[in-house]
């Protein structure tokens, strides 16, 4: 069986223009962004794995206790109505982060970069008197005869929401960066979360990265084939549709294979588990501290007044 090689494959193409006009820098397009997104996902996971394996304070606490105390503190945070109290909770997370071998600059950046700032931008209009009525403390002139300015209620509300968002994220980050995700799942299971849900979540997380590789491959291959300027939007959208579609095909085929592998080892729909959780004294101490903090914080909030 011989092949006939088309002539254009044998001819040589025009190479790079010697004057260097080809290859101007252009805005990151959807291909680069998706590749970047995939890469940053992997980086975060690897970073989380590293920190979770560290020898810090929170890493040594039992995962179940961490989950429960975290949720308790989150609820307390959401009940607090005064900025100073919220700020105190937030500040308390910093030494805990340090004790758990998390670099503080990273911790602050991770929490503040993006969501609280984003929140601030969203909430900014709410500080104005025409959104949040009340006592104007920063007058900004008048508009059609009505006084306009920033109200104290608006400013207070903005401060509340920003600190609350920052504190909540800090608490969740403390949990996720100091607990291996497998232990986290096992903790949820141990705390009576439905077995199926935990099993599905674990398997989804495991195959997330496998499929992510497929996505990266598709997009890097696409990037390698992209010659010249930005892609036509229509073509770009067609590629996104095709790559997402191809990914689904792979995902579905994979689920068939996984199913066969599970059946082959006796799976009938009910899976047991081998959890190895043991409580230590330090877990009780930590739990006690968190409960104490939550109570103190809520009491302080109540005392400050309505």
């Amino acid at each position: 069986m011989t092949t006939t090689t088309p002539s254009w494959l044998i001819d040589s193409e025009i190479g790079l223009c010697p004057c260097g006009c080809i290859g101007k820098r252009k805005k990151a397009n959807f291909v680069d962004k998706t590749i970047g997104g995939a890469a940053s996902l992997m980086r975060r996971v690897m970073f989380a794995d590293d920190t979770a394996a560290g020898a810090g304070l929170l890493q040594r606490i039992d995962a179940r206790v961490k989950v429960l105390t975290l949720i308790g503190l989150l609820v307390a945070t959401s009940l607090v109505r005064h900025v100073p109290v919220l700020a105190a909770i937030y500040l308390a997370t910093l030494p805990i982060a340090a004790a758990s071998r998390l670099s503080l600059s990273f911790f602050v950046k991770r929490v503040w970069l993006f969501i609280p700032i984003f929140t601030g931008i969203i909430v900014l209009p709410a500080t104005f008197s025409f959104i949040t009525h009340g006592h104007i403390v920063v007058p900004l002139g008048s508009w059609f005869g009505h006084r306009v300015g920033l109200t104290s209620q608006g400013l207070h509300s903005a401060a509340l929401i920003i600190t609350r968002v920052a504190t909540s994220i800090s608490l969740v980050v403390l949990l996720t960066l100091t607990t291996p995700w497998t232990k986290l799942l096992a903790a949820l299971r141990s705390l009576r979360a439905p077995k199926m849900v935990v099993q599905v979540t674990g398997m989804a997380y495991r195959y997330l990265f496998h499929l992510l590789d497929s996505v990266s491959d598709m997009y890097v291959a696409r990037k390698a084939r992209t010659v010249g300027g930005a892609t036509d939007v229509k073509q770009g959208r067609a590629f996104v549709g095709a790559s997402a579609g191809a990914l689904f095909g792979k995902a579905h085929a994979l689920s068939d294979e996984v199913h066969a592998a599970m059946i082959s080892r006796g799976y009938t729909g009910n899976a047991g588990t081998i959890d190895r959780f043991r409580l230590h004294a330090r877990d009780a101490v930590w739990a006690g501290c968190c409960v104490g903090v939550a109570v103190a914080v809520l009491w302080w909030d109540h005392v400050i007044g309505r």
Partner: protein, 299 residues
């Protein structure tokens, strides 16, 4: 089962014939034929290799042997009892069957689906209903045997191909099956891991396990098989013999697309007296060649 079927089942089963496949046919989605009137018997302690080009049906036969697909025609008996979709609905039969046959899939990524290596290996015994402390012991033993104890708490997506293969094999071995099925075991493995795997297979067979594997890689055959069954591209079995006989039949190998015109298969006797293969290919300018075999004589 009818009394006639029962009778022939008992008549078929001697303690030695573990696997009996009779005239099975199977098509995917009722349209794409995969097996055409295939019959096969496997005895305890054999090392059987299924040979054939891609798509000839060997993988499908392996799946059939593991009770993952069921024949449209013909019958399959394992350990003396017929294996049907209905039978496997019975929990006791299913447990007994699945713990006695272990399947190592070609795609280790699909086989290693649990969050950690330890959980993966424990999956099989957990489904068999074993006690937790017994499971923990077995898992530790298997981890040690396959030299992956340091990977116990790692996630699968952090493992290399060779490591995943070890985990996949461990997850099957932990159930102590009598029959081990491998689908293209050496595919996508680096040479050192390939060698390790082949030695492991020989070792397991020496310990009494029956090995059935499917491969289209001829270069390791003498080591890991004492019997070869060849599939044609028409999804039928066309030959059944020792590796030496099969390798010597160049016409057969060409006709089933296992080798091409320019490839050569030499079966050599190695230093320890064991059969080794040398498969290679090169151009023929004059239809004839002669080259050095390193001092050894081709058979």
């Amino acid at each position: 089962m009818s009394s006639v079927a029962e009778h022939s089942a008992i008549a078929h089963h001697t303690t030695d014939e573990l696997i009996v496949v009779e005239n099975v046919s199977y098509s995917y989605l009722e349209r794409f034929p995969a097996l055409d009137d295939v019959s096969l018997t496997v005895r305890r302690g054999e090392k059987l290799a299924l040979l054939g080009a891609n798509g000839c049906g060997k993988s499908t036969l392996l799946k059939l042997l593991d009770g993952l697909v069921f024949p449209e025609a013909g019958r399959y008996h394992a350990f003396g009892t017929q294996v049907t979709e209905d039978n496997l609905e019975d929990e006791q039969f299913s447990r007994a069957f699945r713990s006695r046959i272990g399947f190592v899939f070609q795609n280790s990524d699909a086989q290693v689906f649990s969050p950690t290596v330890r959980e993966e290996i424990a999956f099989g015994p957990l489904n068999m209903g074993m006690a937790n402390d017994q499971i923990a012991q077995r898992v530790d033993d298997t981890l040690a045997m396959l030299d992956i104890a340091d990977l116990a708490d790692r996630a699968p997506f952090q493992l290399s191909g060779g490591q995943k293969k070890r985990v996949a094999i461990a997850s099957v071995l932990v159930m102590n099956p009598e029959v081990l099925i491998f689908d293209e075991p050496t595919a996508a493995l680096d040479p050192r891991t390939q060698q390790w795997l082949m030695e492991l297979i020989v070792e397991l067979n020496a310990a009494g396990k029956t090995i059935i594997l499917a491969t289209h890689d001829l270069s390791s055959l003498g080591q890991i098989a004492d019997r070869c069954v060849v599939f044609s591209e028409e999804h039928r079995i066309v030959a059944d013999g020792t590796p030496a006989d099969i390798m010597a039949d160049r016409q057969l190998l060409l006709s089933v697309n296992l080798i091409h015109d320019h490839s050569h298969v030499h079966l050599l006797e190695g230093p320890g007296g064991e059969l080794q293969e040398l498969t290679h290919s090169h151009d023929h300018l004059d239809g004839h060649h002669a080259h050095d075999h390193g001092g050894r004589q081709p058979l």
